[in-house]
């Protein structure tokens, strides 16, 4: 497909006007996409910035240093710990479901899979508000465990569906060969299927980790007032008009995603990319 697209462009060499059009397109996109983000960078280093100066009057890292201390560091640490626990739990819980569904070993497999689409099909906020009411009853509101649970709800959608696709892509013939040679089903799974699925496991882990790091709605409701992750910290800072702190936090939140975009651009498959749109 990609090759045919390139050919069509080469078949029709265009003159100066086409070149100008392309340059204009890239320029407009650059301004429209990088522009709003550049504002974040400027605000994160603006120690003093009064209208109508084009650049802050006083630039410094005063607010960036806050990452290494106090509340911001605490929120960063908490976010990373929650994301790590969520990732491990989401993978461990999803792999049996995905493998069972992919190999048609799980009774009602398709129905179970549909269940994991629910969080995508309905607006999240009303359901999470309702979940918070339940979590209050069970003393889970405002706790670490409560926040991990609500992150798992969204995170499992990614792991279950990507891992099912990954296991489906692994040929059943290699597994049958192992079983015919006398290996048990469990041994086959751990020695053959899981190692073959490793790249998919890694991709899936990265997706959930970033989802959990960025999760805002559920954390705001379930975590309040004790569990403050980075997105919630950013919201609170922005609410108090601490634009610099909010901008520093926003940039920190963008780091893993942008890193992934730059490093894995060539390797990431489009279907994984599509999942990001739902974050």
């Amino acid at each position: 497909m990609a090759a045919s697209g390139r050919r069509s462009a080469q078949d029709r060499p265009r003159g100066l006007s086409s070149l100008v059009l392309r340059a204009a397109l890239v320029t407009v996109l650059l301004v429209a996409i990088v522009g709003p983000l550049a504002g974040l960078v400027l605000w994160s280093v603006a120690e003093r910035w009064h209208w109508p100066a084009a650049l802050p009057q006083q630039i410094g890292l005063k607010f960036w240093i806050r990452i290494t201390q106090g509340d911001l560091l605490k929120a960063l640490n908490r976010s990373v710990v929650i994301a790590t626990v969520t990732t491990v739990a989401a993978l461990a819980a999803a792999i049996p479901v995905s493998y069972g569904a992919a190999r048609a070993r799980l009774p009602l497999g398709p129905v179970v899979l549909m269940l994991f689409l629910l969080p995508q099909a309905f607006p999240q906020l009303p359901v999470f508000a309702s979940a918070t009411v339940l979590f209050y009853r069970w003393n889970l509101a405002g706790t670490f465990l409560g926040v991990v649970l609500i992150h798992l709800v969204g995170g499992l959608v990614y792991t279950v569906w990507t891992m099912t696709a990954v296991f489906r892509a692994i040929g059943e013939d290699v597994e049958e060969a192992a079983i015919n040679l006398g290996a048990s089903v469990t041994r086959t799974f751990f020695r053959i299927s899981l190692p073959l699925a490793l790249p998919g496991v890694v991709a899936s882990a990265i997706l959930v980790f970033i989802y959990s790091l960025d999760e805002f709605t559920g954390t705001l409701l379930v975590g309040a007032p004790y569990v403050t992750t980075l997105p919630v910290y950013m919201y609170t800072a922005s609410l108090g008009y601490e634009l610099q702190i909010a901008s520093v936090t926003a940039l920190v939140l963008m780091v893993p995603g942008i890193l992934l975009l730059v490093l894995l651009e060539r390797f990431l498959r489009a279907e994984y990319l599509a999942f990001f749109g739902r974050l």
């Binding site: 497909m1 890239v26 996409i33 607006p123 009303p126 979940a131 963008m254 995603g257």
Partner: protein, 273 residues
């Protein structure tokens, strides 16, 4: 596949329990609970919650639909010609740039757009530096419907272009060559060939974006100035968080389920026709 033994089957069931429980307890049950709560007040079956939604939030329902429609118009007004152009004239730089918003979290988009589109935000600073805005100018779009629509479109455009490019690449080169043979230029190829042939995918992208925009919460929350018409999810959040009114909050939630389901229904109707 070999027939599975009953014991083994039971074990697979057991292994699937934790993940299934999380979804049932964390999403399925709360979903049902919110529907039930929307029809009850102090344990009595009633429509009082919906009456209040009608009285207080009717205009916000209209506002939410307006914002989502404007966001949708922006996203696809730009997204369709852009994806079509990139399908015909590949540009790696443009495609890379367009992927960036996919990796920017919703809350960050909200904050970035807030400082970008503020009355004297970074957009106006830039315009002023280029001599395009006077010193006493202010920008009026940041806090209103248009600012929200711009922010939503900025975030959704990336996914839409990704989906549309995939669909447009699926259209065989021979159709485009035939069109070119009849003298069709870039725009003619997009409107007369790519768009009609990729119509189902475009429909799916419209529904996905529309439901996401109708239910958007973090972007409006970051950009809201706290007065005037609000997006429904903001109303829901304050109704629940500040008034502790789970009944009315749930009724707003059910309205949002219906709006989302409505979009999906029109899509399915269009596809099956």
């Amino acid at each position: 596949m070999n027939a599975t033994r009953p014991v083994e089957q039971a074990l697979w069931w057991l292994a699937a329990v934790p993940a299934t429980m999380v979804i049932v307890v964390g999403f399925g049950f709360p979903l049902v609970q919110s529907v039930v709560a929307s029809f009850t007040r102090e344990g009595v079956l009633t429509l009082a919650n919906y009456e209040l939604v009608y009285r207080l939030y009717r205009q916000d329902v209209a506002y939410t639909i307006q914002v989502a429609a404007a966001g949708l118009a922006l996203t696809f007004g730009i997204g369709i010609p852009l994806s079509g152009y990139l399908r015909l004239h590949r540009s790696q730089t443009a495609e890379f740039l367009l992927k960036v918003p996919l990796f920017v979290p919703f809350v960050v988009v909200g904050h970035a757009m807030r400082i970008f589109l503020a009355p004297r935000g970074t957009l106006l600073v830039g315009l002023h530096a280029l001599g395009l805005a006077s010193q006493d100018a202010t920008l009026g779009i940041g806090e209103g419907a248009l600012g929200l629509a711009v922010a939503l479109a900025w975030k959704h455009l990336a996914l839409v272009v990704l989906l549309l490019m995939g669909a447009f690449r699926g259209v065989g080169e021979e159709y485009l060559e035939a069109a070119r043979g009849f003298g069709a230029g870039t725009f003619r190829q997009i409107w007369a060939v790519l768009v009609p042939m990729a119509a189902p995918s475009i429909g799916l992208a419209v529904v996905l974006s529309l439901t996401s925009m109708l239910a958007s919460f973090s972007i409006p929350l970051m950009m809201s100035k706290g007065s005037g018409p609000q997006m429904l999810m903001i109303d829901l959040y304050y109704r629940y968080g500040q008034h502790g009114d789970f009944g009315v909050a749930s009724a707003i939630g059910v309205v949002s389920y219906i709006l989302a389901a409505g979009a999906a229904y029109y899509y399915l109707k269009g596809v099956t026709r």
